[in-house]
Amino acid sequence: MSAGVADIVADVVVVGAGPGGIAAATRAAESGRRTVVLDEGAEMGGNIWRHRAGDGVPTQARKWMARFARSGAMVLNGASVVDARATSGGDGFLVTAERASLACRVHGRALVLATGSRERFIPFPGWTLPGVHGVGGAQALLKAGLSFAGKRVVIAGTGPLLLPVAATLAGAGARVVLVAEQAPARAVVGFAVGLLTRPESLLQGARYRAGFFGTPYRTGLWVSEARGTERLEAVTVTDGRTTREIVCDVLCAAHGLIPNVELPRLLQCEVANGAVVVDNHQQTSRPGVYCAGEATGIGGAELAIVEGELAGLSAAGSATDVELLRHRLRPLRRMAARMEHAFAPRAELRDIVTPDTIVCRCEDVRLRSIESGWNARQAKLYTRAGMGPCQGRVCGASLEFLFGWHADTVRLPSEPALLSTILAGTADESADSLHQGA
């Protein structure tokens, strides 16, 4: 064991403390397993259960947080996982994280990956200007204490997230001037009709809409340009025929969510259509590695909890409630599939990018440097697209949408880290000896 490295031995290691990770850890710990959760955020809850200091926590979140606290599971916040691998002894896995510039190694017999999702960004001229945030990104900043009071805000992109974010920002005093959904009206209406079997979701949607009453909500409309010099000053929106300029301070723009599959890929778990493949125990193609929540496909917090419970129980070797949970999965997964279909980004979004538009923000790679005959790897080698600190997490999805490329290579470390952290993770023999002693 080297100095300055914290070693922890557990039975079940969970990565991610959103709804899926919390449910998984709770179930595993309740089954008597020593359970450790690693999470990058300063607080538990992930992005969906994040809340403003002093604000009420959603009931379901409060319930699960309390149950987690009673379960005996341990959480390490502010821990960025940089490596996960099987131990050389073959008795489990070693997860290495960096926490406050120190390496932290957690050894476990089973892993639950609840890495969640991120927003999909599709480039447009001016999207790199300060004042342009993601849709969930703006909500995260609001919950982290940023005031939007009096700001003129345009919300654009696609998906059911536009409504709650518009309602939240308007409720916080923002002047939401337009909500532009790129999906055509018929797709949005079709999705809403599909919700008739779930009246509580429809009612929720109506409540959100009432939250920004007086602001136009337009379908079939998207941003074609953001303008400004040192920061955002105006956006241009289009329906493909006419354009209109809107003066604003903030633009929230994103096109739905995509699963975070970097860590599962590092562990060589099978990924199909951008999501981790799991069996009906939530086990990935790699025995002993389970996956739950958005990483297995975008489906929302409710689905993440059920998958998390199943993953946690399976990782703990328990069969309690498994049939009941599987039964609850089915309708939730059906709804997720409908959502993906209704809010697919339209082809016209590919025509907005100009040769000058930046497609990789880390390395300032512009569209004109990219040749459509390449693949993701060639683009990376020839232009550095995907080689910056985000490691392709933003431009990977952009290039996939624009060129149909799949960036499926992942390398160590999965997040930028100190050399001392990376070295701590590659010397895993001490974890084996620790486990024998435990």
Binding site: R118, G136, L146, C390, P416
Partner: protein, 88 residues
């Protein structure tokens, strides 16, 4: 709302007072510091994803570079250096 629980951080030598629980990214934006870094070709950049993915909000915190301002909670005395001061 009372001001009893105010946290003071120092950004580029300037004192910023924020509510407890505020992230460094939110503190900077709230103080009008919209450009927190310069891109490799010198363009202004600010927080995009708000959740630790994009690294656009990276700043130097207490002399440690490459810290994601959106993932760090403001604490009394915390020192932040942004692109406003550090031209790199």
């Amino acid at each position: 709302m009372t001001d009893t629980w105010i946290v003071t951080i120092v950004a580029d030598g300037r004192e910023l007072r924020v509510a407890p629980g505020t992230s460094v990214a939110a503190a900077l934006l709230g103080a009008g510091i919209t450009t927190v870094r310069r891109s490799v070709t010198g363009e202004p950049r600010g927080p995009l994803c708000g959740m630790g993915v994009c690294f656009e909000c990276r700043v130097t915190i207490d002399d440690v570079p490459y810290q994601r301002a959106c993932l760090v909670t403001a604490k009394n005395g915390l020192r932040v250096t942004t692109a406003q001061q550090d031209a790199s």
